[in-house]
């Protein structure tokens, strides 16, 4: 199956039974597959009037107790930023899939890019932390969509699956494990007297339990800055308490959220840092360089946000150079550069989008570092 369908199947396996979306290339196959599958699983697919409404609808469905998802690409992702912020501040679990295509604006609707990585980090206004996963194959699209739901349910935050046109449209074998082998997480429910329930009162984990509309908790949920009761508080202390907790909720759990894979780093002098479809080009270049005797390894980012800055910093102290490979003109490369903090040289192999990164371009960058250090 292709990556879009694998993503839809992953959502179904994760227990998603509500999907709201709007057609957009190259993400449409996710919605089409949900439209075929969900009604016969007791779920629902609805095509909304735009991506603003799609994002709003999945938030509403989540408060109704559903695991909910939407999928889109660049222009739709831009429209979702407003209600993504509402999802963050109301701590509403849901999954947003961005099958990235080349921008800005309408850009190249049918062609690949990885240009929305910083939008994923900072696209909605205000200061917040977010979780973003990046699959590099249809199998990972399936697996990471399940993980995206688990993380969103656990941390009560919208989770972004930042896939791309090539992964979305690529056909590969996907192994779907037996149901018993799939570990699922559901949001923690409140306990104790309903009348005393405070919707945003959290313990040391910073993650409040979540009630469902209709269960008699009579809760007030607002996009305004609010206190633990959910009541608006129009002052700096309430803002400080709320925003700092939303940030701490992710930062204090960053180590368990982050997921990276390392290839041939033991004796490496140069490390490629890549994610998504660009990992495939990077692996090819890495093996070719190894065949030619160059000591190069790969750090594969399965989660991009929160960014694994500690690991990158460690690598920077032992490596000569870090080469970021991504289909843009330097987004995650900036994070690598920031984390390396001058301890190693940092390069970018990237372009404006429309095609994958050619392994040859990566090989040249590896050669340039291996011959010069």
């Amino acid at each position: 199956m292709n990556g879009d369908v694998a993503c839809a199947e992953g959502a179904i396996a994760a227990g998603c039974r509500f999907f709201a979306g709007y057609p957009i290339t190259p993400a449409t196959e996710v919605a089409e597959h949900m439209a075929v599958r969900l009604p016969y699983l007791g779920g629902m697919h609805i095509q909304m009037e735009d991506e603003i409404a799609s994002m709003a609808a999945i938030l509403g469905a989540s408060w109704a107790g559903q695991k909910a998802m939407t999928s889109t690409s660049g222009p739709g992702f831009s429209l979702m930023m407003e209600n993504l912020g509402l999802g963050i501040v109301t701590e509403t679990p849901c999954v947003v899939v961005n099958v990235q295509r080349a921008g800005p604006s309408t850009g190249l609707p049918t062609l690949v890019a990885q240009g929305d990585m910083m939008q994923a980090r900072w696209g909605s206004h205000g200061h917040y932390e977010i979780i973003a996963l990046v699959p590099s194959s249809p199998q990972e699209a399936f697996d990471y969509t399940i993980r995206a739901f688990n993380l969103s349910e656990k941390y009560r935050v919208p989770v972004l699956l930042m896939t791309d046109e090539v992964v979305g449209h690529m056909m590969e074998k996907v192994t779907i494990p037996p149901k018993s082998a799939i570990r699922l997480v559901s949001r923690r429910k409140p306990r104790g007297a309903k009348a005393r329930h405070q919707p945003f009162s959290a313990d040391a984990s910073h993650i409040p339990p979540m009630a469902t509309a209709g269960d008699g908790y009579f809760m007030h949920i607002t996009g305004l800055t609010h206190d633990s009761r959910g009541y608006p508080g129009m002052d700096a202390p309430t803002q400080k308490e709320m925003v700092e907790r939303l940030v701490a909720k992710i930062r204090t759990h960053a180590e368990e959220i982050m997921d990276v894979e390392e290839y041939l780093l033991e004796d490496a002098r140069v490390v490629l840092v890549s994610y998504g479809v660009s990992v495939r080009s990077s692996l090819k270049a890495m093996f070719e360089a190894r065949d030619r005797g160059m000591k190069v390894g790969l750090l594969k980012l399965n989660t991009v946000w929160p960014f694994p800055e500690r690991r990158v910093r460690e690598l920077a102290t032992t490596m000569d150079a870090l080469i970021t490979v991504e289909i843009n003109l330097g987004q995650i490369a900036l994070e690598v550069e920031r984390s390396a903090a001058g301890r190693a040289a940092t390069d970018l192999v990237g372009h404006a989008g429309g095609t994958i990164i050619e392994p040859g371009a990566i090989l040249e960058a590896i050669e340039a570092r291996c011959l010069n250090v």
């Binding site: 603003i52 409404a53 509403g60 109704a64 509309a213 209709g214 607002t222």
Partner: protein
């Protein structure tokens, strides 16, 4: 002994005083809804009230029900997800004219077209009150606002006609002067299913009235009293509001049309005992 207001059980009394100005009509519209909720005797835990942004949007924050104060214009798609996510819920949207018909206009026409089972109450005070009285899609031609200081050169929406045209099954208009009839209408709306819409004309003396020679709160109510004509089953096309003609109020539409969930269930979970009316 502490005195208790009959609606206190529906209110977050610890959030009072509210933000609304003296003479504002939103509180009256809100009280009518509270009365209708009490009279309906429907289980309170089944209610979910969704509002957008603006003075009217603040209603959600004073209700001791499950209530959601969402983003500007997006109350209806949020409410759509809430209703479809749990069809047992009695989902109400209570918001203002700018929220529902300017920034949220697209969502209104599509929620009505789909006939999502939602009760939608729109307080129309002819302007954007919270931001200081700017022109709205409901501001009458010629009326003065902060952004049309010499008078408005746009034509306003005729909300009952719009709601009727896009498929609402119940369409009414009342003013906050018609407290009893408004309460009865809201009560009636709770007995119906499908996309139901009531426009509630309300004074905004602070932002709109003072720019249009209706500075005192009572002036707007007197204006309503002088201009309003109660006409049930009137053609919604006659509901256009301008600064000269009478204002038609009453129940314009009360019809049956299968809801989105009726049709969905018929297709995917048919129940032979249940009759689905297809118009």
């Amino acid at each position: 002994m502490k005195s208790v207001h009959p609606y206190d059980e529906l209110l977050r009394t610890d959030r009072i005083p509210h933000i609304w100005c003296p003479g504002c009509g939103i509180g009256t519209a809100f009280s009518s809804m509270l009365a209708a909720i009490k009279e309906s005797a429907l289980p309170l835990e089944d209610f979910a009230v969704v509002s957008g942004i603006g003075c009217t949007g603040r209603v959600a924050g004073y209700l001791k029900l499950d209530s959601f104060h969402t983003t500007h214009g997006r109350a209806l798609p949020f409410a759509t997800g809430l209703k479809l996510g749990n069809p047992r819920l009695n989902v109400v949207t209570f918001s203002g004219d700018g929220d529902l018909f300017a920034i949220g206009g697209n969502h209104f026409i599509h929620a009505a077209r789909r006939n999502i089972d939602l009760a939608v109450f729109c307080v129309n005070n002819f302007n954007y009150g919270m931001t200081g009285g700017q022109v709205a899609p409901t501001t009458p031609y010629g009326a003065k606002t902060a952004t049309t200081p010499m008078g408005n050169d746009e034509w306003p929406f005729n909300l009952p006609l719009l709601a009727y045209a896009v498929g609402a099954v119940y369409v009414a208009r009342w003013t906050t002067l018609h407290v009893r009839r408004l309460t009865d209408a809201i009560r009636e709306v709770f007995d119906r299913r499908g996309f139901r819409f009531i426009e509630i004309l309300a004074p905004c003396p602070t932002a709109y009235g003072r720019r249009n020679r209706m500075k005192a709160p009572l002036d707007v109510l007197k204006y309503f009293e002088a201009r309003v004509r109660v006409r049930h089953d009137a053609d919604p096309a006659e509901a256009q509001i301008d600064l000269e003609s009478p204002i038609v109020v009453g129940k314009f539409v009360d019809r049956k049309r299968p809801t989105f969930l009726d049709l969905w269930s018929k297709r995917y979970a048919p129940d032979e005992d249940e009759e689905v009316h297809v118009a």
